[in-house]
């Protein structure tokens, strides 16, 4: 029987009332009296030496308030990187300066050179046209492998070469892995590209910097997934503003997908410039600017080898990956190809020996950082593709090969440093077979063939590490921040509740799901509870939302704070009911004395806390407000099995996704409807990556796909109706809610299923020489593969 409130209920998303009626309050909706507008003049060459910048004519243009260049930021900090990776040889990564406005050189198309602040955006734009730039174009570094060759042009002149780091994991296992591969009965090798993507949230990035001279306080309104992280990075490392003088607000945010985690130059600029000119400064990215200034995602080039013994047991995995960092290190860029990628190379399988090598490379392209899944989709894609290829080479059923190698005992310590606390991969695979109707596939294939189409089935598993992350562990791995979270539960006098949470909701439905948890714990109506998020002046602290961490980490903090509330409320109730505290029970919003009919209501207790006329003032303070910080003991490990069926038109190479099924294990689920929506969105983005999306540069570092004419986003007609199930639940063992997180799963699990299905379709049509097609699997690539 489905519940109609509390944990497990599909409560309707209350935030949708404003999102669907156009009454959301986004950063661009914020206008401050007297604000000026900034237009950034950006580099149109990928690599160049700045000889001179002449702003004299532009400064005299109508409406211009001030024009800033890199020189204005000398003495101001650069944009910091939040993660330091140590390489195979014990050396720390190369960490070049990342100025707010270019200094000396431009290093990618879109690199900001000048910022024109004017009364209106149009005036700022016009003035930018009058700036005379003298830039000598330099040879651009674009291809990662060429970038590492001797004699290559250098993105950063002060570094020896374009290598950021050469990471080996686990380095001590390298010799054993090499040996196992040498002695294997069978080795399957696959070389592939994980295509560069642009996140493309519906709302582009916006920043409004404000300054109040009266109290020397700066406020930044920004499209961020983590306002406290921005306050920390920008205040401490870039502008030198202490926390109590810097407020960061991220109001309604229209999608993030990772690209709004990072601290960007435009945020620092608007905050800095507002102090300089004593006026608010506003910037709203155009879509073209978003393409060349939002951190991109993925962009790995990988070779993976899977070794098997004579009985088809996996014995070793060895990978070599080139990971594109772009021109500068974005906030968390170094962690993505390393700790969020290498640690997942065991997948769902008992592979005893694993070695991952990652070379991170600087190129004259937009910086690359986390995008939905961040490292884990790259790990899943290569592993699940190479397993599929191995099954074909060995002539065994790909599902059976996976099943044979599943991890079945938990907890399971992988050879890549993480310990899966719980899971049941057989259960999700069995559920997948049911919801995807795999037994009916052959009949559907025949029906497709009767229409002249090739039909393929692709299946894969995935595991991810979510609930990011135990602070002591990530500190050892190079994180320069803790990754706990915090919540304050403020119970008001009449019993209504405001919960201030460090997580930030930008589409995830926190405003609905978080109150469900508190309502369940207190036995009161969800409508009595609101969450407050996104404002550093209103919430205690918070590391924000990414890595499917909100409910697992911040939700746990909220549970701990609510437990403190319950403990205190019971003390008040025991006083009101003249009973022993140990005998007080809280059920359905009523405090009662065990074994009696004496009770008082939630509202009686909360009122007593704020009107303490009859109150144990000698024992406890008045008021009812508690804060908790929660630092997770481990990552959480959602897992699942996905199936995709495609039709390929042999005449044109066009691939259509006919069916897509997802069986996930997210542990306990707070709101099944929201979880289903998260999975839908993730699969949509995964299909987008697999079939459509590609961020392309030419050999001169010119960005070629910078509008929706050339960057193909998935549309409703590109995806089928999904069959989604999350009834397989092995609750997380180390957080109080038993939750694992669901935000990224769809984007992690879906690309290999699509490509596996395309290869299966081509094989069914006799194209057995086709072993791999790189994403996006576009009609031209499929057609070329069929005709190769």
């Amino acid at each position: 029987m489905p519940k109609d409130s509390g944990i497990g209920a599909s409560s309707k998303r209350r935030e949708d009332v404003r999102f669907l009626t156009g009454t959301g309050q986004y950063t661009d909706d914020i206008n401050i009296h007297g604000q000026a507008h900034v237009y950034f003049l950006r580099s149109d060459v990928a690599h160049g030496k700045i000889n001179s910048i002449d702003t004299s004519a532009a400064s005299a243009m109508p409406g211009v308030v001030r024009i800033f260049t890199g020189a204005d930021f000398e003495g101001v900090g650069g944009l910091p990187c939040g993660w330091q990776v140590t390489d195979r040889f014990g050396e720390v990564m190369k960490e070049p300066a990342h100025p707010v406005l270019a200094q000396g050189k431009v290093r990618h198309v879109g690199d900001p050179i000048c910022a024109v602040v004017a009364e209106t955006l149009e005036q700022a734009r016009d003035a930018a046209e009058a700036i005379e730039l003298d830039i000598t174009e330099l040879p651009a570094v674009v291809d990662m492998k060429k970038a590492l060759q001797a004699g290559s042009a250098k993105v950063h002149d002060d570094l020896a070469d374009n290598l950021c780091y050469d990471w080996g994991f686990v380095e001590e296992n390298k010799a054993a892995v090499d040996e196992a591969i040498k002695n294997a009965a069978h080795v399957t090798t696959l070389e592939l590209v994980n295509n560069r993507l642009v996140a493309n949230p519906m709302e582009p990035r916006v920043a409004v910097g404000d300054y109040n001279r009266a109290n020397d306080e700066s406020t930044l309104y920004t499209t961020s997934q983590n306002p406290h992280v921005i306050r920390l990075l920008m205040g401490a490392f870039v502008l030198g503003i202490p926390e109590h003088k810097l407020r960061v607000v991220a109001p309604d945010v229209g999608g993030g997908f990772g690209t709004k985690i990072f601290h960007y130059a435009e945020e620092a600029f608007c905050t800095f410039a507002a102090r300089q000119i004593n006026r608010a400064v506003k910037w709203t990215a155009s879509r073209s600017e978003a393409f060349m200034s939002d951190a991109h995602g993925r962009d790995h080039v990988t070779k993976i080898e899977l070794a098997l013994d004579a009985d088809n047991n996996f014995t070793a995995v060895r990978t070599e990956t080139y990971a594109n960092m772009g021109a500068y290190l974005s906030t968390f860029a170094p962690s993505v190809p390393t700790w969020l990628h290498g640690t997942l190379m065991a997948g769902n399988y008992r592979t005893p020996l694993i070695y991952v090598n990652v070379k991170a490379v600087f190129t004259n392209t937009v910086p690359v950082d986390a995008y939905r899944g961040a490292g884990r989709p790259e790990a899943t894609f290569q592993l699940e593709r190479v397993i599929d290829k191995a099954a074909r080479e060995l002539g065994v059923d790909p599902i059976a090969l996976r099943r044979q190698n599943f991890i079945t005992q938990f907890p399971y310590a992988t050879p890549v440093a993480v310990e899966y606390d719980t899971g049941d991969y057989e259960a999700t695979m069995a559920k997948l077979e049911e919801i995807a109707d795999l037994s009916g596939f052959e009949a559907r294939r025949k029906a497709s063939e009767a229409k002249g189409k090739l039909r393929g089935l692709g299946v894969n598993c995935y595991i991810e590490a979510c609930g990011i992350a135990p602070s002591n562990l990530v500190g050892q791995l190079g994180a320069r921040a803790g990754l706990y979270d915090a919540a304050t539960v403020r119970v008001n006098a009449t019993g209504s509740i405001s919960v201030m949470v460090g997580a930030h909701s930008h589409g995830q439905g926190h405003e609905t799901a978080f109150p469900q948890v508190v309502a369940e714990m207190l036995g009161i109506d969800e409508s009595m509870i609101d969450i407050v998020h996104g404002d550093s002046s209103k919430i205690p602290f918070g590391m924000g939302t990414y890595g499917s961490r909100s409910i697992a980490v911040c939700g746990s903090a909220m549970v701990r704070a609510t437990e403190k509330i319950i403990n205190k409320a019971k003390k008040i109730a025991s006083h009101l009911l003249e009973a022993s505290e140990a005998d007080i029970e809280l059920k359905n919003g009523q405090f009662s004395v065990k074994g009696t009919d004496k009770s008082c209501a939630w509202g009686d207790v909360t009122l007593a806390a704020y009107v303490p006329h009859n109150y144990p003032l000698e024992d406890i303070e008045p008021g009812l407000e508690e804060t908790a910080f929660y630092d997770p003991a481990n990552f959480t490990y959602p897992s699942g099995a996905y199936a995709c069926e495609v039709e390929v038109d042999p005449e044109t190479g066009k691939v259509t996704v006919e069916r897509f099924s997802a069986a996930d294990d997210f542990g306990n689920v707070i709101n099944p409807m929201i979880v289903t929506g998260q999975v839908h969105g993730g699969i949509g983005q995964g299909i987008g990556q697999a079939l459509l999306e590609n961020c392309a540069y030419d050999e001169n570092g010119q960005l070629l796909s910078a509008s929706y004419m050339d960057y193909a986003m998935p549309r409703a007609s590109d995806v089928p109706f999904y069959a989604v199930d999350h009834s397989c639940q092995t609750p997380c063992t180390h957080n109080p809610l038993g939750v694992k997180g669901c935000g990224e799963a769809g984007a992690i699990g879906s690309p290999p299923a699509v490509v596996n299905a395309v290869i299966d379709a081509l094989h069914s049509g006799g194209h057995t020489n086709v072993t791999h097609i790189d994403m996006p699997v576009s009609p031209s690539r499929v057609w070329a593969a069929m005709n190769s």
Binding site: D44, E129, N700, Q702, S705, A706, S707, D710
Partner: protein, 170 residues
């Protein structure tokens, strides 16, 4: 992108060569060129108005002649900055040789674009560059040969247009 093509021009090599070195000819031949000044030795300053796909812009830039082998070959290079539209660069290696119908002009064109032009127009840039090059050398042939009878007729409404060569020789 690179493309190569050739044209036969009904004029002797010396005439064709002189035309290649003329600012007036270049101005008439560069599609969309509104201004051109300068000399072969110092290079030319040019203003060109062009629409590439969705982007229309005024490009200001320089055209230079290099690798000059008198009467035989030269390289025409141009670089135009279109402000917010980005930039375009191009070069054409032009080689002349004798031909039974006059002079064979062979050209090897290279074109590059950057900024907004690349971001929004990359799909069409190859076709655009080919069209520009074809037009340029077709205009050039027309300028050297003068209008054919057919084009003269169609151009009548605009007043009779004479080719550069015919203007000089009367």
């Amino acid at each position: 992108m690179n493309l190569a093509d050739s044209k036969v021009i009904a004029a002797d090599r010396e005439t064709v060569w002189q035309a290649l070195l003329s600012a007036d000819v270049l101005k008439d031949c560069v599609p969309g060129c509104t201004e051109m000044s300068g000399s072969p030795a110092d290079g030319f300053e040019a203003t060109v108005v062009q629409k590439v796909g969705p982007v229309k812009a005024t490009f200001k830039g320089a055209v230079t002649l290099s690798d000059i082998v008198e009467g035989q070959s030269l390289t025409l290079s141009g670089e135009g900055k279109g402000g917010a539209a980005g930039f375009a660069k191009g070069g054409a290696k032009v080689t002349l040789s004798d031909h039974e119908d006059g002079t064979l002009l062979e050209y090897d064109v290279e074109a590059k674009v950057g900024g907004k032009l690349a971001q929004l127009g990359s799909r069409i840039i190859d076709g655009f560059a080919k069209k520009m090059a074809d037009q340029f050398f077709e205009n050039f042939r027309g300028a050297v040969e003068g209008p054919s009878d057919q084009t003269a007729e169609t151009a009548e409404g605009d007043g009779e247009k004479k080719g550069w060569f015919k203007k000089i020789i009367g």
